[in-house]
């Protein structure tokens, strides 16, 4: 603590300096408190309350109904698949432009495009896919007229389904993977590859024993992020399949709009379940990212 004696002239302004230090961040905390924290807490608490305000686990237990279980399960399935495929394909593309040695003229546009594509989600994305591989889409018609292949019958593919949603989600999942994993791949020092080679390792041996173990936390962490990203997405699904597809966000959407589940507190429980799942996934991401940064110093 500073000595007051040395600031006799500014005594008044100094004495209120200490709490004044926190004044600057007050607007921020008020804003996030009112419009981020409080609403979330209200939902979380509401999940454990009855309509009258008493504490109860009933809402959480009621989540075990067939409709809700199915909705969560389908959501998890879609999120896992789109995250998994997004990880694999995104990793392959990111590896191609970093360690694969493709020229800068390929890497830079791809990175820029990934930045755009990862933000191009929601309603317009659904329209783009409907126009391409929807029931009357470009590719669908092309396959039928040129090859005589009817997509739904011969390939078993229907855009307006969970598989279709997975494919649509890939449009922003893959670029997101590319954006996040490219810096990690850049962090693979060239000397590691050379040291492994001079010690006798072939390319695959280097990847198996050195590169992939180093990258593993990043990859797993990004998988978790992609999972959470897909799990919470509403707009794309809504625009693609309307309220019919039974996934958790759509169910919650319908509940908010029209209380289809029968009790408002039930909706809280649904939302709470979503927060728990995305919260776990994001925690995994943050923890693994911190761990991977330690190795790639």
């Amino acid at each position: 603590m500073r000595k007051l004696s040395s600031l006799s002239a500014n005594r008044l302004s100094f004495r209120i300096n200490a709490p004044l230090r926190w004044v600057g961040v007050l607007p921020f905390f008020i804003f996030v408190g009112l419009f981020l924290i409080l609403p979330t807490l209200y939902i979380v608490v509401g999940a454990f309350r009855t309509a009258q305000g008493d504490f109860t686990f009933d809402n959480i237990i009621a989540l075990n109904s067939a409709v809700v279980r199915n909705a969560y399960w389908v959501s998890i399935k879609i999120s896992v698949m789109s995250a998994l495929i997004g990880c694999i394909v995104g990793f392959a593309m990111a590896a191609a432009i970093t360690v694969g040695g493709l020229p800068k003229s390929v890497r830079n546009p791809l990175m820029t495009f990934s930045g755009v594509a990862s933000n191009f989600a929601g309603v317009p994305l659904a329209f783009a896919f409907i126009a391409t591989i929807g029931p009357a889409g470009l590719i669908t018609l092309w396959l039928r007229t040129e090859f005589g292949i009817v997509m739904a019958r011969d390939l078993g593919f229907n855009l307006l389904s969970t598989v279709g949603l997975i494919v649509t989600y890939l449009f922003f999942q893959i670029p997101l993977m590319i954006l996040i994993i490219t810096p990690a791949l850049d962090g693979l020092k060239k000397e590691w590859r050379e040291a492994a080679a001079i010690l006798g390792a072939t390319g695959p041996q280097y990847w198996l024993k050195i590169a992939l173990p180093i990258l593993f936390p990043s990859i797993l962490g990004t998988f978790a992020l992609l999972f959470a990203n897909a799990f919470g997405a509403v707009a794309t699904a809504f625009a693609l399949t309307g309220p019919q597809l039974n996934i958790a966000p759509i169910l919650l959407f319908a509940q908010i709009r029209g209380d289809v589940l029968g009790s408002p507190n039930y909706g809280y429980a649904l939302a709470f379940g979503m927060i728990v799942i995305t919260g776990i996934a994001n925690t995994v991401y943050i923890v693994l990212r911190a761990r991977s940064e330690r190795w790639l110093k």
Binding site: W192, A195, I198, L199, I210
Partner: protein
């Protein structure tokens, strides 16, 4: 037949010739340094021996067999990098044993070899540590152990000490040389630090602009430089402008001092040449055995403790000479006229 035979090695990147007609024969067990400034091609030569760069022309024979067409992982060579390059996800023991695992050495034997290596580098108890827990000097020693664990035929070191503190550099220098001599392994050491090259090597290759300017023992390189570049790069040189007075008998004049070189001068009478002098060859005042007297004026005196560095203006050249501190003789003040004695044999005539 030399153990490691590099002949007519060339490397061009596009139109830029980085290595030009490089030739070097190294006997088994020899420690050879490639010494030169940045961009002289020394690292490129090393990387070609390792297999990371493909030569544009020339051959590299190890034990009689040309390895140019072999990949790096087939050459049985060890390499230590400037940036240590330890695998961060493996422990020290796993790093050292990496090559053994790749070669399929049985686990028990590999473990014994790893421990032997760790003992060799003086870190027997650090096997379970991770690289980020080690200091720079320790990491580099582990890198050395890793390279040696597979008993390579040749050891390559790419400026291994450049990233370390000065004190560690000196102690590690000695260690590396000791280990190399104990194992008797043929070694190529790349550095831009002449002190390292001179103190560690059996022979030194001074490189400049992609070619080997001179190859010789440290003594030869330092005392009998054959090119102006080698003379200037290795050690300090005092350059004097001299006029040839009698080419046949080696007579030259520096300032107002006339002296006779031990060999004839390869320039016509009256021509201006450059002769060079090492600082340790100059002596303040008169001394027996140094018959040439140069007259100069003290310009700078730096008292550095045991050594006094004096700069004297001699015939227009700033001569740098070191003299030891003597408790009974204070250093001469700036501005005094002084005599500096030199032996004619110490002058190096620089070929232009």
């Amino acid at each position: 037949m030399a153990f490691l035979d590099i002949s007519h090695l060339e490397k061009s990147f596009g139109t830029m010739r980085v290595v030009k007609d490089f030739n070097l024969q190294i006997e088994q067990g020899e420690f050879v340094s490639l010494l030169g400034p940045s961009g002289c091609g020394k690292t490129t030569v090393l990387r070609m021996v390792a297999g990371f760069e493909a030569p544009s022309a020339g051959s590299i024979r190890i034990d009689g067999k040309d390895v140019v067409n072999l990949r790096p992982n087939q050459r049985k060579i060890g390499m230590v990098f400037q940036a240590y390059a330890l695998f961060p996800n493996l422990t020290v023991a796993q790093n050292v044993g990496f090559g053994l695992g790749i070669a399929g050495v049985p686990k028990a034997e590999a473990a014994a070899r790893v421990q032997e290596m760790l003992d060799l580098i003086g870190l027997p108890d650090l096997g379970s540590r991770y690289p980020f827990q080690l200091s720079g000097g320790q990491q580099q020693r582990v890198a050395l152990a890793r390279a040696l664990a597979v008993r390579p035929r040749v050891l390559l070191l790419d400026e291994p000490l450049s990233a370390l503190d000065a004190k560690i550099r000196v102690s590690l220098r000695t260690e590396i040389r000791e280990i190399q001599q104990r194992l008797g392994i043929t070694t190529i050491f790349v550095t831009h630090d002449q002190e390292e090259a001179l103190s560690m090597s059996d022979r030194v290759v001074v490189m400049n602009g992609g070619i080997a300017d001179q190859i010789g023992t440290p003594f030869e390189i330092y005392n009998r430089p054959t090119t102006r570049f080698v003379a200037g790069f290795v050690g300090t040189l005092n350059n004097f402008n001299a006029i040839v007075t009698d080419a046949a008998s080696g007579g030259i004049r520096i300032g107002d001092s006339v002296l006779t070189l031990p060999q004839p001068v390869n320039a016509p009478n009256g021509a201006a040449i450059t002769v060079a002098l090492r600082p340790e060859a100059a002596h303040l005042g008169r001394a027996p055995g140094r018959e040439v007297i140069l007259n100069g004026t003290i310009a700078e005196v730096h008292f550095m403790g045991s050594v006094i560095r004096i700069k004297a203006d001699v015939a227009g050249t700033m001569l740098s000479l070191d003299t030891f501190n003597r408790a009974d003789t204070p250093p001469p003040p700036v501005g005094t006229a002084t005599e500096i004695s030199v032996s004619a044999r110490d002058f190096i005539v620089l070929a232009d």
